[in-house]
Subunit: 330 residues, 2 copies
Amino acid sequence: MEDVAHLAGVSLKSVSRVVNREPHVSDTLRAKVEAAIAALSFVPDTAARSLAGSRTFIVGLLFDNPSPNYTMKIQSGVYRACVEQQYHLRIDNIESDRPHAEVEAQLDAIVRNSRCDGFILTPPLTDNIQVLAFLERRNIRYARIAPNSELGRSPCVAIDDAAAGALVARRLWNLGHRRLGVVSGPPLHRAGDRRRTGFLAAIRELDPAVVVAEADGLFSFESGIAAGADLLARDPRPTAIFATNDDSAAGVMVACGRAGLRVPHDISLCGFDDSWVAKSVWPYLTTVYQPIEEMGYVAASLLIDRGETGERQVMLGFHLVERDSLAPPS
Amino acid sequence: MEDVAHLAGVSLKSVSRVVNREPHVSDTLRAKVEAAIAALSFVPDTAARSLAGSRTFIVGLLFDNPSPNYTMKIQSGVYRACVEQQYHLRIDNIESDRPHAEVEAQLDAIVRNSRCDGFILTPPLTDNIQVLAFLERRNIRYARIAPNSELGRSPCVAIDDAAAGALVARRLWNLGHRRLGVVSGPPLHRAGDRRRTGFLAAIRELDPAVVVAEADGLFSFESGIAAGADLLARDPRPTAIFATNDDSAAGVMVACGRAGLRVPHDISLCGFDDSWVAKSVWPYLTTVYQPIEEMGYVAASLLIDRGETGERQVMLGFHLVERDSLAPPS
DNA sequence: AATCATTCAGTCAGCGCTGTCAAGACTGCG
DNA sequence: CGCAGTCTTGACAGCGCTGACTGAATGATT
């Protein structure tokens, strides 16, 4: 930095001002400094910055029970935001199903150790009141991804799961399906539940007389097989099934195969997530895309911007990805 | 740290010595300091350590084209090693399929920006000579995961892919299969090729007269469908197929389904990786487990140990995970 | 014309640790 | 018993940057 200051003929502090985009810097000075920075391809030292200043230029990403696909996508979005803003990304893992005290200890170790500027929370951490309270007590900023409660409590980013469920409902309805089935997610997964209730509500609105067959799923492939078998055994048998995530949809597809039913000729099937499974089954799964990578990006941006911009709650879009698992009832 | 020194009645430097496990520290002093550290639950400040010293306590993990599953597993292994050694993990992404100069620029930005103690390289970066040369030119340490060439060039960790291929060959042979098929990986994936050649060599040894049907795959689901269809059309039709990764094995399974063949009753199928796909198909795939998470762990340990321990090249074990896709020929 | 507010640039201490050097306490050996 | 050599501890500067402060110059206000 000294070299830069020398080359530009200004003080160290002025270079610092330019680097940090502080106000009260004249255009000529800024220009000189920027030229010098470019000439020397100067990069400020993160360690020194965080030691001297109050920021650390690190955002922490907290995970729990990583579903590889989801986790990876969130991470790459967060990473992209970090690179753009010259921040670093630190990953940490929490096992939130441990006893209270132990979770607290894990958190404590992480925050002591990493002095992040803030954390990004992914489900199920997102709705873990204990974690939220801990962070608030320590006065640590955090942003949440896909929270299910107390949206105002922190910056957060999500999609409208109920509306997405309704979208699927309308699509199946418009195809002509009147005997519908739905596979739920784990009991505590509120987002999954909102997909289900949104679906149900939309059908009820279309025709209150239609009853939708329901089966319990756990968002796993295996649970999808069971739920599918369950649904297929109903009388009358559904002509279309909405599984609230892709893994269980893949399971339902296996159940269909075992029952001798071909997708989509004999039965239509729709998943949710547009995860990697959707293209690892045959036929390729029609599913709802949710912008997971983008959610990571937005969450990180929210955190880094330090509330300078207005929006604290961001709702992102979603859309149906039409592939090969939907058809009119035969 | 000052508080610790005070409480233990020693100098700052002595605390530093204990924290860094430096030699020439008496047991009594160490004990005093450790007690004080525990009492105050002191955690050294990483920023200050890296500013003052030569180490940064950060290991960088370099990725390219993340296959979510593999990437996640590597990452969690590396993470585990980092936590144990009080290091931090930084993730960075390289797009190595760009032109030479651009890759160089990406690398340059990363090393300038993050001053890591070393990097961990995953395939295909592992065998990218350009990346290796760059790091060496800058005198930056690195460890490689599953390299295919110049093993001695750096610390690295891998499995014996050829032996794993041979293991599959013997298993299928012992089941009684004599008409065999194999699905290869992408042309440049050397590890995949060694699985294939290891398989072929083992069969040749068992009976030189047996010819193995071969089909080209790309490690993708879709390519597996095509390769499976190809193999199934041969005359005589193979009774067992070895796909050199799980994704293509899943594709082969679809091809079998479409051809009206049931796995494993009509045809046996073996994958490789024990990735998450292996349990997202029905029947569950018998496959070769390779300790991906462990490879990440070992690579990070190799990097952090700074060559103090002897082993620079570590070969890890693998084993067959018997699930439901193998049976004697019908 | 005098006063005050505001913008712009610079000085300097110090963030929390480690590397270097030096001094004191030992040890072994002639 | 003395001297070189080794082990153990401490003093202190300084890593590269930023926050708090100071001072000068400019503009706005009475």
